[in-house]
């Protein structure tokens, strides 16, 4: 029996070799699917950093219009639909102090601080829980610290929504397109059944632009490399008292608030 098995393996091996070579002849070029000589590179204008971060100067954001302008800028450029119910999709939004900074740091805050709206978005954490729980690696952290999503891979399991301590993620219960008034033809929409969130405008950084919210904030939002002491974010943090959301849970958010 063992002889026949060995014999078989020998012949099967020969056969595989034969098949391999014969098909290799006509299929050699077919297998090399990438065009010879083609390459992939970063764009010429692309902005680089070791660790992208954002500083929001809450003192400069006062009126409802300030917020609306920023949110509008982001949501239009990214085709974020406005769905007026619990199925709401949001990349950037506002909320009150109590719900934003839940570590109750002082019982007696100034009423102005407590009553104010705060701008919220994905924190692009150093230790993002959403990345750890994603079963398909659809959510991942780039080398420059941005936490992004590959919607092609998202299977809509929503583990990341459960994992995110900041509620930064929204789920598309339905097709978002009917809720888009004007589609930005330069940017995709999402489909039913995927999760989405802020990308720190990684696609704008590629072409040398600042994030849309930063542009629209009239200087209230700063953006830059946290590892570079000369960056606007480091300078602002050096000069002001700043806080981050839920520091005690160790996610190390990349969004700082000057209060």
């Amino acid at each position: 029996m063992s002889t026949t098995r060995r014999q078989f393996l020998k012949i099967a091996g020969l056969a595989a070799f034969g098949l391999g070579t014969s098909s290799a002849l006509d299929a050699a070029d077919a297998v090399a699917k990438d065009m010879p000589g083609a390459k992939y590179e970063v764009g010429e204008k692309h902005l680089a950093a070791k660790r992208w971060a954002m500083v929001i100067d809450t003192r400069k954001l006062e009126s409802r219009e300030d917020f609306e302008r920023i949110i509008h800028a982001c949501h239009t450029v990214h085709n974020v639909p406005s769905i007026p119910n619990k199925q709401e999709i949001k990349w950037i939004w506002t909320d009150k102090y109590d719900r934003v900074f839940t570590d109750d740091m002082s019982q007696h805050l100034s009423p102005a601080v407590r009553e104010k709206d705060y701008l919220l978005l994905c924190n692009h954490c150093e230790n993002p829980p959403c990345v750890r729980v994603c079963p398909t690696k659809a959510t991942f952290k780039r080398a420059d610290g941005i936490v992004v999503m590959d919607y092609h891979r998202c299977i809509g399991c929503r583990f990341c929504m459960a994992g995110c301590p900041y509620g930064a993620r929204s789920f598309n219960f339905g097709d978002p397109r009917p809720y888009l008034k004007d589609v930005n033809p330069a940017f995709p929409t999402r489909m039913r059944g995927v999760v989405e969130k802020c990308t720190f405008c990684s696609e704008r950084l590629e072409v040398g632009l600042q994030p849309a919210c930063v542009e629209a904030s009239n200087g209230a939002i700063l953006f830059g490399d946290l590892d570079d002491p000369n960056s606007p974010v480091r300078k602002a943090l050096a000069e002001n008292f700043s806080i981050r959301r839920k520091p005690s849970i160790g996610t190390q958010p990349g969004v700082y608030y000057i209060v």
């Binding site: 029996m1 026949t4 098995r5 014999q7 078989f8 012949i11 099967a12 056969a15 034969g18 098949l19 014969s22 098909s23 006509d26 299929a27 077919a30 297998v31 699917k33 092609h152």
Partner: protein, 335 residues
Amino acid sequence: MFISLLAVIALGCIAWLGAASGFQYLIGVVLPYAAVLVFIGGFVWRIVDWAKSPVPFRIPTTAGQQKSLDWIKPARLDSPFTTAGTVGRMLLEVLLFRSLFRNTSVEIQKGPRVVYYSAKWLWLFALLFHYCFLLIFIRHFRFFLEPVPFALTAIEFVDGIMQIGVPRMFMSDVLVVAALGFLLARRLFSEKIRYISLANDYFPLFLLLGLVGSGIWMRYFAKVDIAAVKVLTMGLVTMNPVLPEGIGAAFFIHIFLLSCLLAYFPFSKLMHMGGVFLSPTRNLPNNTRAVRHVNPWNPPKKYRTYAEYEDEFRELMEEAGLPVDKTSEEAAAAE
């Protein structure tokens, strides 16, 4: 087995060489037509040939309680009494491989002890193979229908729902290879199955592996120009055969192996596809005592009659006080 493997490899090489040396029309048009004719003709001929022999006796293998007394629950499907039950049994058999589901394996352990294990792997992989193959067969209808009906698109959507890779990976492709691999592996590595396997058991397996393999090769790797393939296949089914330019060799290997399979089918054990419907131990109801089954060649009755019996034993019977039809005196008088 080696012969079967070599035969399939040889068939593949013939197709490849043929495609490379100008026999595309023969391989892509003439042979498929011939193969379809042989398949249909051969299939019908085999069924008719079987049907020419009668089923003299009603011999279902009863796999459950008969229908007898009202208060005993009969096994309506495993031991069917009615036509409906028999149809049900056949459906279970054909669609779900009911009998194979019962499979066990036996082992003699120290003690000595004979131990039985449930053994459903064969059932599982056999079922997987057949359904994947059916699905793949149906999916191929996109090459024969224009416009492609929604049902086909829906099947493709479900089959490719994992959305892995481009072109999207079909689960049936992976599973059919896995199932064929299992069926082959048990022939090679199970002592019992290897012992009973003949060349004509390996050949269809290798042929199917070659067929499936060449299909996978041209879909995922060689990227045959399917628009051109569809022109060819539509030409075939609309009886306007054409041979478009630029179809890769992989396609010709694929269609050649398919033609071989079609032509081989009616003359091989693959006819179990039709035969399973004609198996008298499965397709008959277990009601022979209630409804008489007629044997068309039933020979005339020939048996030792009571009269002959009494003639031999009359005196002994009378002596023992057993009743007789004719007393000894009557018998003597008759002579």
